[in-house]
Structure formats: C-alpha cells, structure tokens
C-alpha cells in the first residue's frame, strides 16, 4: 500500500473528453511499464466508466467527471467519479446486456468489459448523488 504516485483530474462531461481521459490514464499507467495488453485493458475500462458518467450519470447535462489514479506496490487503482443521477440497482446494472438506454444503442456490456479487463471493479452509487467506479489492476512495477 506504499503510495508511489498519484494524480487527480477533472473535466467537463462532454464526449470529446472521453479520448482525453484515456490518454491521461494511459500516460499515468505507463510509468509502471505495463505490457501493451495491460495498457489497452486499463484504457478500455476507463473509457467505459467515463462514457457511463457522461451518458448515464449526467445524461448529457454539463457536469464534472473526476478521475483519481494511484500507483502503489500492488499496481494501479483508477476511480472514475460523477455527481450525477446515481444507480438504483447496482446488481442489475452490472448484468451483461442490461442497459437503461437502448434507444442510444448502448450494448449493456460496459460493466462486463470493465470486470473482464480489470482485476477488481467496485461500484459505489447513491441516487441523485452520483457514482464512483473503482478499477484496479495488479501490476508489478518494473521501472527503476
């Protein structure tokens, strides 16, 4: 649990910032010298969580999405936080193919991707308060 590096970023909930979020997290994770596949996994999971904050959390209203990243002995922990509408039934939300926005052609596979690509996914949410998705990947630091 020795904290080795840390960052926080916040940005507007507009879809252009999805790629911004991926680049920021990739640049931070790169300090651990991950494999290309590990880096792609982290990038993908973050993309899912940030997209959810924008579409489902803020429902395309303007708000701030926050990301908090920590590198420690065990690997990398990324939290994606919104202060949007929250999730009523987290278990249901996590089910493959479940989506509350089929009209937007959402696949309902976001949480499934996060859980497959990361080692731990923790979802905390309060209706009308917001959602925090914590994504962990175990990675040994091979840098000097």
């Amino acid at each position: 649990m020795n904290k080795k590096n840390e960052f926080k970023v916040e940005f507007l909930s507009i879809s252009q910032n999805e790629s911004f979020a991926r680049i920021v997290v990739s640049a931070f994770a790169a300090q651990l010298n991950p494999t290309l596949e590990q880096l792609a996994d982290i990038k993908t999971a973050v993309s899912e969580a940030v997209t959810n904050a924008i579409i489902h959390g803020y429902e395309n209203k303007l708000g701030y999405v926050k990301i908090h990243g920590i590198i420690d002995d065990k690997g990398i922990t990324i939290s994606v936080i919104d202060e949007g509408k929250g999730i009523e039934d987290i278990e249901k939300a996590k089910q493959p193919l479940y989506t509350s926005k089929p009209e937007l052609e959402r696949s309902g596979m976001g949480f499934t991707v996060m859980e497959t690509f990361m080692d731990e996914v923790i979802v905390e949410s309060h209706v009308n308060k917001g959602t925090r998705v914590t994504l962990k990947k175990y990675l040994a630091d091979t840098s000097d």
Binding site: E18, S19, T51, I55, S107, T112, V113
Partner: protein, 102 residues
C-alpha cells in the same frame, strides 16, 4: 473518426479510421445507417484496419447495424481487428452474431 464507403455488388465495405468510442460512434452510426439504406446493401463488411481502439459503444453500433442488415436477410463481417478491438468483441459475445473475414 473518418470512414470511406465502397459498394461492391450487394456488399457495402466500410474502411474506418480512428478510435471508435461513444463520441465517434454517434456520427458513425448515422453515416452507416444512412448508407445502408441508400445503397440497399445486403452484406456489410467493416474494415477495422485503421481502428486501434474500440469500446462497448462500438459494440452497440455494430449490433444495431446487424439488426438492420438481418432484416434484409443479410450478414455482417468484420476484418483487420487489432488485439484490443478483438478482445472487446470477444468479451461482448459479438462473434456469436457476426463473422470475421480473414
């Protein structure tokens, strides 16, 4: 994201360039659905050569087009998948409904 359309017989080929996420999927969906209707295509081949990254928003668009094309009795193929794109498609079960062209 950029896309080039190419109609060959009853097949609509789409060469894509860029990252396919929620942001780019909106215009991609509209352009693609429009082109399917306009060309009356039965077969759809999505060329991912220029796509290093896709997330589940892309899966949603592909399922949507699979539905349009299926209604015409057609079929959807994907080709030139990067390892990341392939992994997202696998995890999403997309290969149960669409085919990979080598």
């Amino acid at each position: 994201m950029k896309f080039i359309f190419d109609k060959q017989g009853d097949t609509l080929i789409v060469h894509m360039q860029g990252e396919l996420d929620h942001h780019s999927s909106v215009s991609f969906r509209n352009a693609l659905e429009g082109m399917i209707n306009k060309t009356n295509a039965k077969k759809l081949l999505l060329d991912f050569k220029g796509v290093p990254f896709m997330d589940s928003s892309g899966v949603g668009v592909i399922i949507g087009r699979y539905k349009s094309i299926s209604q015409r009795g057609g079929q959807v193929w994907v080709t030139n998948l990067s390892p990341q794109v392939k992994k997202v498609m696998e995890v999403s079960g997309l290969f149960n409904i669409i085919k990979v062209r080598k």
